[in-house]
């Protein structure tokens, strides 16, 4: 049995999404800018997809949504736009991001820093989330942007973006949030918390990777960095669009928001079963409080076992999981999540996480529990763990 529990990185494409995309992959289709029947039918499908995005996010009438190629492009374009529009002109010189933003945001911020912009990284508290109060320490009249992801893809912690958005609104600073890992897991209503920008990629909601979108509040001035717009839909990002991907993303959002309630209920039950079973094992601790986490994710710290070795053994048993700290190929953050949560530094290299999706079944979870227990017993038979303390249990 092969169990895929790495759904915070990439999800399988939903068969219904694939069905919606199929005509654009198999049959000839027209460009959005073309003056013929095929162009017209493409435009029709494209506008339908766009409408689904508006509906899925509950975006208001006076707002913009456009398609992009995903999270990395969204963040890079956003930062480069901020740089050329606000920082180069000397209007603003200050940027606030979360210390656990994704790699594109971190690297982009690093570039801005090298160009003389001041970048503040909001620390994550012991709960694993950004404290909205900490914003006051860094906000200045010259802050160009605040960016905090809605959900941390590794620990699954849900950041209080409503409160952060509220503070930003009060100080008239644009607020951006990355909803990639929140879509389809928690309800998102942009009218309720009113961010200036919201962006996401399709890879985490059963759409293909390589397609994403950005929501812009009416007042936000977006500077494109990919040129070549030929029609109004391409004004924020040039180029012939990945039409199949866009249609797929529209369908995926529709499915995710329609079925959010009951599907996430099922996923949560399965995740809880996994969590309850594993947390009773000695030296295995789930990180981030249950109530602060998205329903599909659980991250464990396992005393005495190294992440990569655990992943290797789990993989041999047919369970595909993830870890926060796998070197040299992982995405190592300056401060690993275990440190942020105030755990023993010995657990830094000992995390293993499971991210479920709506396709995860009960049998798969049973298999995961069995494999995890076997893995734990086998690896601890020759781990230096024996001499560590069992005190916690």
């Amino acid at each position: 049995m092969q169990v895929y529990l790495d759904n915070n990185r990439l999800t399988q494409v939903d068969p219904q999404v694939l069905g919606a995309m199929e005509p654009f992959l198999k049959e000839p289709y027209g460009d959005l800018h073309a003056l013929h029947a095929r162009g017209a039918s493409s435009r029709k499908e494209f506008l339908k997809a766009l409408e689904k995005l508006y509906a899925g996010l509950h975006a208001p009438e006076e707002s913009d949504i456009f398609f992009s190629s995903g999270t990395a492009e969204n963040h890079s374009t956003l930062l480069m736009g901020i740089y050329s529009g606000l920082i180069l002109t000397g209007r603003k010189n200050n940027l606030i991001i979360s210390e656990r933003s994704d790699a594109a945001m971190m690297e982009g911020a690093g570039f801005l820093e090298s160009q003389g912009c001041k970048v503040h990284k909001l620390p994550v508290t012991k709960e694993g989330i950004v404290d909205p109060e900490s914003l006051y320490d860094y906000l200045t009249p010259r802050t160009a942007l605040v960016s905090v992801p809605m959900v941390d893809p590794e620990s699954g912690a849900i950041n209080p973006v409503e409160e952060i958005a509220e503070i930003c609104r009060r100080y008239e600073v644009p607020f951006h949030t990355d909803a990639t890992h929140a879509l389809g897991k928690i309800p998102i209503d942009v009218q309720a918390f009113d961010p200036d920008l919201l962006s996401f990629g399709g890879e985490a909601i059963h759409a293909p990777a390589g397609i994403g979108a950005v929501y812009l509040k009416d007042s936000f001035e977006w500077m494109p960095t990919i040129f070549g717009a030929r029609n109004p839909w391409e004004r924020y990002r040039g180029g012939p669009l990945n039409l199949a991907g866009a249609v797929g993303l529209g369908k995926a959002i529709e499915l995710a928001s329609d079925a959010l309630e009951f599907e996430m209920e099922d996923t949560r039950d399965l995740r809880d079963r996994l969590e309850e079973e594993l947390r009773t094992l000695p030296g295995v601790t789930p990180l981030v409080a249950w109530a602060l986490r998205v329903p599909n994710t659980v991250l464990f710290a396992v005393e005495g076992l190294e992440s990569e070795l655990m992943l290797y053994e789990l993989d041999r048993g047919g369970v595909e999981a993830y870890a926060c700290t796998v070197q040299p190929f992982g995405n190592w953050q300056r401060r690993p999540v275990t440190d942020a949560l105030g755990l023993d530094p010995r657990l830094k290299h000992s995390t293993v996480g499971f991210a479920l999706s709506r396709f995860t079944t009960e049998e798969e979870i049973d298999h995961t529990i069995k494999t995890f227990k076997e893995m734990l017993e086998y690896l601890r038979s020759f781990s230096t763990f024996k001499e560590l303390s069992y005190e916690q249990k």
Binding site: L305, Y312, Q327, P345, K348, H349, F382, K386
Partner: protein, 320 residues
């Protein structure tokens, strides 16, 4: 980057067969108890190296024979990535039946050679070499601890991986490293928070950074090289008998002796004689090599082959 570089895959699925086999079926893992050591009439020695917060830890269990001082049984427990498991298992196999002096002679080249599937392909992708140097350091540290030596403390350069200045300098020298990335490949220093790579990357000022150390050590190496009395750069044929002897000794020390020591043997040079256009080298096998069936066939051909390739095709090796 070249095509072969771009197409290279450093992940698990492209690990070599032997390394994969060692990860999946390690034979020497586990604990050695006091009773087991007693049964072997040996003393149990425990040695810890590394810390979990640095990503790797090895604990050696050596049963050391009371009479001849050989490690008669060797086991380990560990905390670390799969590749460390493979290397530690191979190292445990090599340590067995060796004295501390012989364990000391296990070096990067020999350990890596034993992990290879075939003599030409390297056993590990560059990104994974850190585990090999870690195991070697743990062996050296265990030997030192057995002798009651306390190595001089060296200031830490990379706190995340627990790498000190002496280690960084040693890898730069041993492997003739040219870049900081290579230091990271060999030690994992600079792989995590990256603050130790160059000055200015960290909030607080640092005493040592990898790029500074690289520059300083390379400069020292250059100076040493220029002051060293160089061996005459002439063809083997034109050398005097003494020079020939020196050249042969150098080749044996560099390429051959480790191979023999690994199997518990050794060799010595008795004489070098000129015989017409041939040069005859008389040797004597020592330790496990003397009396070994392969000493007059495979091993001999290997020794002769290496010498012929490195020095002169008209060289003959005659074991006595």
């Amino acid at each position: 980057m070249s095509k072969s570089e771009t197409l290279r895959n450093p992940f698990w699925e492209d690990f070599r067969f032997k390394v994969q086999m060692l990860i999946e079926r390690p034979k020497n893992k586990g604990v050695l108890s006091e009773e087991e050591a007693q049964q072997l009439q040996a003393d149990l020695a425990l040695h810890d190296y590394g810390r979990p917060e640095e990503g790797m830890q090895l604990r050696w269990y050596w049963a050391i024979d009371r009479e001849n001082g050989r490690v008669v049984a060797c086991r380990y427990t560990l905390f670390g990535p799969p590749v460390l498991l493979a290397i530690a298992d191979m190292a445990a196999l090599l340590v067995r039946n060796k004295t501390l002096e012989e364990i000391e002679k296990i070096n990067y080249k020999s350990l890596e050679y034993f992990l290879r599937d075939n003599p030409v392909d390297p056993a590990l992708p560059p990104e994974r070499r850190f585990a090999l140097t870690f195991v070697l350091r743990s062996l050296a540290s265990a030997v030192a601890a057995q002798r009651g030596e306390r190595p001089e403390a060296s200031p830490l350069v990379c706190e995340c991986a627990g790498i000190d200045k002496a280690t960084v300098e040693a890898v730069i020298r041993d492997f003739d490293l040219q870049s900081v990335e290579e230091i990271t490949d060999y030690t994992r220093a600079g792989a995590f928070c990256k603050e130790c790579i160059a000055p200015g990357l960290s909030q607080k000022p640092r005493e040592y950074t990898l790029s500074d150390l690289l520059k300083a050590t390379r400069q020292e190496m250059e100076e040493e090289r220029s002051t060293q009395s160089s061996v005459p750069e002439k063809p083997f044929k034109e050398m005097s008998l003494d020079e020939k002897r020196a050249a042969i000794t150098a080749v044996i020390d560099r390429y051959i002796r480790d191979m023999l020591v690994m199997d518990g043997g050794d060799m010595e040079i008795l004489d070098v004689k000129e015989n017409g256009e041939h040069t005859d080298l008389y040797i004597r096998y020592l330790g496990a090599c003397s009396g070994c069936a392969s000493a007059s066939t495979g091993t001999l051909f290997a020794i002769e082959g290496i010498l012929k390739q490195k020095l002169d095709p008209n060289l003959r090796v005659l074991p006595l």
